[in-house]
Amino acid sequence: MSEALLEVNHLKKYFPVTQGLLGRTVGHVKAVDDISIRLEPGETFGLVGESGSGKSTVGRTILRLTEKTDGEVKFKGVDIHSLSPSEMRLLRPRMQLIFQDPYSALNPRVRVGDAIGEALLDHGLCPKSEVRGLVLEALEACGLSSYHIDRFPHEFSGGQRQRIGIARALILNPDLIIADEPVSALDVSIQAQIINLFSRLQQSKGLTYLFISHDLSVVEHLCTRIGVMYLGSMVETAARDELFRQPLHPYTKALLSAVPVPIPKLKRERIVLKGDIPSPANPPSGCKFHTRCPFAVDVCAAEIPVFRDAGGGHFVACHLA
């Protein structure tokens, strides 16, 4: 096996829950609870889950935007959580983040050309005289025009702003891009444009993506491997076609059957889950999904299922699968 670009082993991120005047810690929200991911260069790993499943926290903890609680994150073999701040800073241009909401990710008073070029100068990656040329290149790669360089964010539509967000990540020539719900705020016709932009850029620049999304149809389109999260834990990972052809975990099955398909009068067998996602501060015992699982048996409430290989790199954490 070639060297992984990113290796996440048993990553945990707990947020303390405090109470009272003195801020005593009374418990923990286990936002990310023992997650392992391996990304080969050039692949796109899709991380799916519903709100509160911890998928965004995984992305942020990998980039060390929040400190981990336990586990390790290796980028090209280097454990990034052991690096000093200055070493970390040198590594930052290699891994970039694209946010969901391009409206709030851009400073309204900074011209987009400066916003895109800023990081190059900050990291001293190129002399000031060359920045404009590189910004123009990045704009063009993202489907924007050269005259956009001196405009302000409010002059752009949502789709264009997301292109600016992508250009800003791209200009640093990163190896890894973590995209956190990058198309969720966009209309369908614009969403298709941005999805195509992601795949084109991957082909031309050999990028590796960690694509975080709640939308399974988008993930199916873009990703080569997919991991499904529920309440901070990975419940299933598999290659894309394998996961969609033969989902093993009941949660994955329910998710897949819940996505509305634009074919009228299509009769589908739907697994409608009962109830809401439990609070991550007080997750259910055993398998965290057992409270909503239509197939749960006694052992599910008692024992935590092992995340194991069900054959051919299809991993699942379920007593019944």
């Binding site: 016709s189 389109h221 996505v259 074919i263 009228p264 739907r270 809401d276």
Partner: protein, 327 residues
């Protein structure tokens, strides 16, 4: 089937510093008894403003309904005085909004918010209303109804709040339910629950529904009749199966092709080039012409009217007006 609402030539404008915006521009459609009509379109196409106009929620001086009529069971909602409109709103026509969190009053208990329309419209006594409220809460699939009735909105999750909104909306057995993106803010598994519930209520009570959404998957699942809007105009409408199988307007086709569909992966998604025109700069052309692959000279100069294109389907596109195009 009996028509319960008939909208004719409805136009709504907003006044901004830069000029007048025609958010809804001369649209007509009808909703029949027991039917679900879906209005689909992207942000800014006027689908929500249509709903707001029906409910009388467009207020001057910001904007106003500038023309047309909204005939609801024989009465023109636009000509009604405030009190008569109030008697219909929340009673015979109910509405559910996208954001349940911001539609409920944060400082009033859930139960009391459900009781309000019952007391106002159905003239129920407080005690009876309370009992009915608890029944409604369990009817929308929430357990511990008594306890929930005494809690505040912030104590419930988004999915539960949307159920409460539905409970309020159906409390007076409305003839028409307007749901504006009711599941957009919710997770897919919760969305499936809410859509199932709406469908069940519609079937058991025989009410009509006007569902506004941007999600073609939701449309396919819920609609009997579909209206596609673009830049304030209806560009296509038709019965759901027909519209999905045989879309006529290039915009509808583009929308259907550009949505990634589970189980039908393609290497590259079709995408409609460009973006929605600025609503301040709409000229007398087809508003879709600069994004359309079939654009003809006539498309740049005149706006096409909505015409029958066969099978009860209508489209506003010069492609289907042969006589005028090809002379």
């Amino acid at each position: 089937m009996k028509e319960i609402m008939k909208i004719d030539g409805l136009s709504t404008v907003f006044f901004t510093d830069e000029g007048k915006v025609r958010a809804v521009d001369d649209i007509s459609f009808r909703v029949r008894e027991g039917e679900t009509v879906c209005i689909v379109g992207e942000s800014g196409c006027g689908k929500s403003v249509t709903a707001m106009s029906i409910m009388g929620l467009v207020e001057e001086p910001g904007g106003k309904v500038s023309g047309g009529s909204i005939d609801f069971l024989g009465e023109d909602l636009l000509r009604l005085d405030k009190n008569s409109l109030r008697a219909i709103r929340g009673h015979e026509i109910a509405m559910i909004f996208q954001e349940p969190m911001s539609s409920l009053n944060p400082v009033i208990k859930i139960g009391e918010q459900i009781m309000e329309p019952l007391i106002v419209h159905q003239k129920m006594k407080k005690k009876a209303a309370r009992q009915r409220a608890v029944e409604l809460i369990s009817q929308v699939g929430i357990s511990r109804a008594e306890q929930i009735a005494d809690s505040y909105p912030h104590e419930l999750s988004g999915g539960m709040l949307q159920r409460i909104m539905i409970a309020i909306a159906i409390s007076c057995s409305p003839k028409l339910l307007i749901a504006d993106e009711p599941t957009t803010a919710l997770d897919v598994t919760i969305q499936a629950q809410i859509l199932d519930m709406l469908r069940e209520f519609k079937e058991s009570s025989g009410m009509s529904m006007m569902l506004i959404t941007h999600d073609l998957g939701v449309v396919a699942e819920m609609a009997d009749y579909v209206i596609v809007m673009y830049s304030g105009k209806i560009v296509e409408e038709g019965e759901v199966v027909q519209l999905f199988q045989n879309p006529k307007h290039p915009y509808t086709r583009g929308l259907l092709k550009s949505k990634p569909v589970m189980g039908q992966r393609q290497d590259e998604l079709y995408s409609i080039p460009g973006q929605v025109p600025n609503p301040l700069e709409l000229a007398s052309s087809c508003y879709f012409h600069d994004r359309c692959e079939h654009c003809m000279p006539v498309c740049r100069t005149r706006h096409p009217g909505l015409k029958e294109v066969g099978g009860g389907q209508k489209a506003a596109c010069w492609l289907y007006e042969e006589a005028e195009v090809h002379v």
